[in-house]
């Protein structure tokens, strides 16, 4: 169970999560103040800070068993340099190479390798952490839940253990629906900025709910209310039809789109005042829709373009290819770019899909993973390594804090 103050504000801890509280805590994070602390206290504080981020779901005993004092590192070698020299130049001088090279320039001094930032590299091998790092879940806790609930496969086989330690070359896949849910904006919230979305989305509950409440309130079924209900059903069907024509026809002209959207807005407005809805206004809306549909079909006939794609994208190249008469058959990339982002109220996330708020501040993929977002799968290439000037373990703490934490787990305190 997640503790009560997981994203506390009083004693802030940075967590592996995309929560906005966590972003705030990260933004005001401060380095450990060591001046008034004994060495033991420094180590304790550093351990406490870092463990709240790295594998807080792992019990302390378990983690101390996972901890390794050996830290993997690599150094980049230049093939041209290796071909030019056989190493004698590094043994020249007093045994560590001459300070000045023959060409007069000073010896290249590599950046130090931040070994200590790799203290928690064994936790990055865990399946739940790797899923979070691959941006398939919004927190390690959520990733863990996906694993436990059976949405995750390793090398094509279901893996229900979040503590499974990935081996180099292992491929893990998460159900795309779960990924879209975890990383997508939540349903039922108003869109902050409507301009950047293709079709304007009403709030999921806003338009319909008050009407339904009124419905419940009415005790007796009178003729008037049944008439209202019939009109409302018609209106609902009309809105559905408008939606379909908006979804179906991808290559509509801007004016038609605009007309359809205005009509949809009007219909929605009428829906919210369905008690005062008359047959005349309903028939007028319907006739407007019919007129637009007529115009669309006319323009299609005159231009003689091949029929637009169906709502369900037919992606198979053998099916799509004959439709493009003059141009070359679409490449795989074209198909990917053309995959739609439709409005679908049955989904558990806001549609058309858009990233959840505050995701971009946390979005990075470390180099030890290779991710394919289209199929929501990733390969764990190798264990994370340190290299000059760079440590691959994503940690929000400075080198000094990580060093103190490393010293805590050396068990010589």
């Amino acid at each position: 169970m997640v503790r009560k103050r997981f994203h506390g504000l009083k004693k802030p801890k940075v967590r592996q999560s995309w929560n906005k509280f966590n972003l705030y805590n990260l933004a005001r994070q401060e380095n450990l103040k060591t001046h008034a602390l004994t060495f033991f206290q420094q180590k304790w504080a550093a351990k406490s800070m870092t463990r709240a981020y790295h594998g807080e779901q792992i019990r302390e005993r378990q983690w101390t068993r996972m901890f390794k004092r050996y830290i993997p590192a690599v150094v980049e070698m230049d093939a041209a340099e290796l071909a030019k020299n056989d190493g004698t130049e590094q043994a020249a001088g007093r045994g560590t190479g001459k300070v000045e090279r023959p060409d007069g320039r000073r010896r290249f001094k590599p950046k130090p390798t931040p070994y200590m930032n790799m203290t928690y590299y064994p936790t990055e091998r865990r399946l739940d952490t790797a899923i979070f790092r691959a941006l398939f879940a919004s927190s390690t806790r959520q990733a863990r839940q996906f694993v436990v609930h059976g949405y995750v496969k390793v090398n094509g086989k279901k893996m229900p253990y979040p503590g499974y330690l990935l081996n180099p070359g292992d491929m893990f896949s998460v159900d795309p629906e779960r990924v879209m849910f975890a990383t997508g904006a939540p349903k039922g919230q108003a869109v902050a900025d409507r301009d950047d979305l293709e079709d304007v989305e009403e709030t999921e509950n806003g338009a319909e709910e008050p009407v339904e409440e009124e419905e419940v309130g009415e005790a007796e079924e009178t003729d008037a209310s049944s008439e209202v209900k019939a009109r409302k059903d018609k209106l609902k069907a009309l809105i559905g039809a408008i939606d379909e024509s908006l979804l179906d026809k991808k290559d509509l002209s801007g004016r038609r789109l605009q007309e359809l959207r205005t009509l949809r807005k009007e219909a929605k407005k009428a829906m919210s005042r369905s008690k005062h809805l008359t047959d005349e206004s309903l028939s007028e809306l319907e006739s407007q829709h019919a007129a637009i549909v007529e115009k669309i079909s006319q323009s299609e006939g005159s231009a003689e373009v091949p029929e637009a794609e169906d709502a369900k994208p037919s992606i198979d190249t053998s099916v799509v290819a004959p439709r493009y008469k003059s141009a070359a058959p679409p490449t795989h990339l074209d198909l990917l770019n053309r995959l739609p982002n439709p409005r679908d109220p049955t989904k558990p996330y806001a549609t058309p899909w858009r990233p959840r708020p505050y995701m971009s501040a946390f979005a990075f993929i470390p180099r030890y993973l290779e991710v394919n977002q289209n199929v929501c799968s990733a390969v764990y290439l190798r264990h994370p390594v340190a290299r000059p000037g760079l440590a691959e373990v994503p940690t929000p703490f400075a080198s000094e804090v990580n060093t103190l934490a490393f010293q805590w787990y050396l068990r010589r305190r």
Binding site: A27, P72, A91, M180, A192, H332, T395, P396
Partner: protein
Amino acid sequence: MPPKLPPPSLLSPLPSLPLPRQCICQTRSFSHTRRQETQAREQLFSWLHGPGKVFEKPLPNSTNYLSAYSKTGQLLRATQARAKQADAEPEKPESDDLTPEEAEIKKRDAWLKKAAEDVDAEMGKGRVPKESMEDLRPFPLNWEFVSQPVLSEELRDAIYRRVAEEGGSVRAASVEFGVSMERVGAVVRLKAMERQWVQQHKPLAAPYSRAVLSMLPTTPYDPGHPVHHESINDLPVHPATTQQIFHPTAESRPFTRRDAARVFRQGLRPADQRIPHPELVEIEKAAQSGRLNRPQRDDLMRTVMERESLVQKLKEADEAAREQRRVKVISRPRHDFKVENVSVEAVGKTGRKRAGVGWRYGMPLEDRKRGQVRIPTRVD
């Protein structure tokens, strides 16, 4: 101390007596009165609506990390761009009715405003200045972690086509695209999966993919000018080489990498051979000694790569043959029986080694005991 008894007036069953309003608010959780916010929460929300507002939505086609912004929520590289643009503006003649200082200030303000507007207009069109290394740090306090670029969709597709469709070797593709061999293999594997999904009409997470790739730094694909994605010749630091050794040696004799490896540990190979692409060193040596021109060098590269892939194929064939010799397969209509030799000693001293075969008499299995870790260590 026991809780205070309420006054008798409240205890008496008098329905007409209204309860004090304050009391209702405290006990009824469904009250409509606004909850008193703590100072910490107030600060949080003022941050989220102030400087933190910029993180709510991604910057178009750019990363959007904490380090890219000032404490007040200004995009640092945009501010710098504005300042640069303001500096580049030519001087204008001053008007007479202002003191020189005022005119200077006014001019400066006007330029800054104009430059800021220009930058904002650019940003409105989705063009943000390119990130520097400082802007790519998601964690402001950790200077040793940066968000490194990932492969763009085009580059992944190019790698897949080179290896899976044109039959290029992983090694050659790794050198060509500047991508490590493990990554090339992974890209091909994942792309193959993706194409299979497309053929099976399985829904892809395309909107998610497009959004994520626009939030991350990516390595673009340009067929004419290949971009180096990552270092392909990484030498793993061997534990034996992390110690300092005092090794006296004759000055008259050259001390090479080979000697150094031997000093560190007997049998340790020199760095030239432990890197993933030793053939590149060979090519470079030939190029440096023979003064090859570009086509000759490409030819040499091709020859060496072909040789390497041939060696790899021979090695694999050899392994398969050895496996065939080790395991005797007896085919039957329903099952294939595989017979192989096993050693009794494989169970080890404790009789519990994983390599051991079969159930050992007198050695109870512990795999269902409490406290035994049942998480598999590998999935094939």
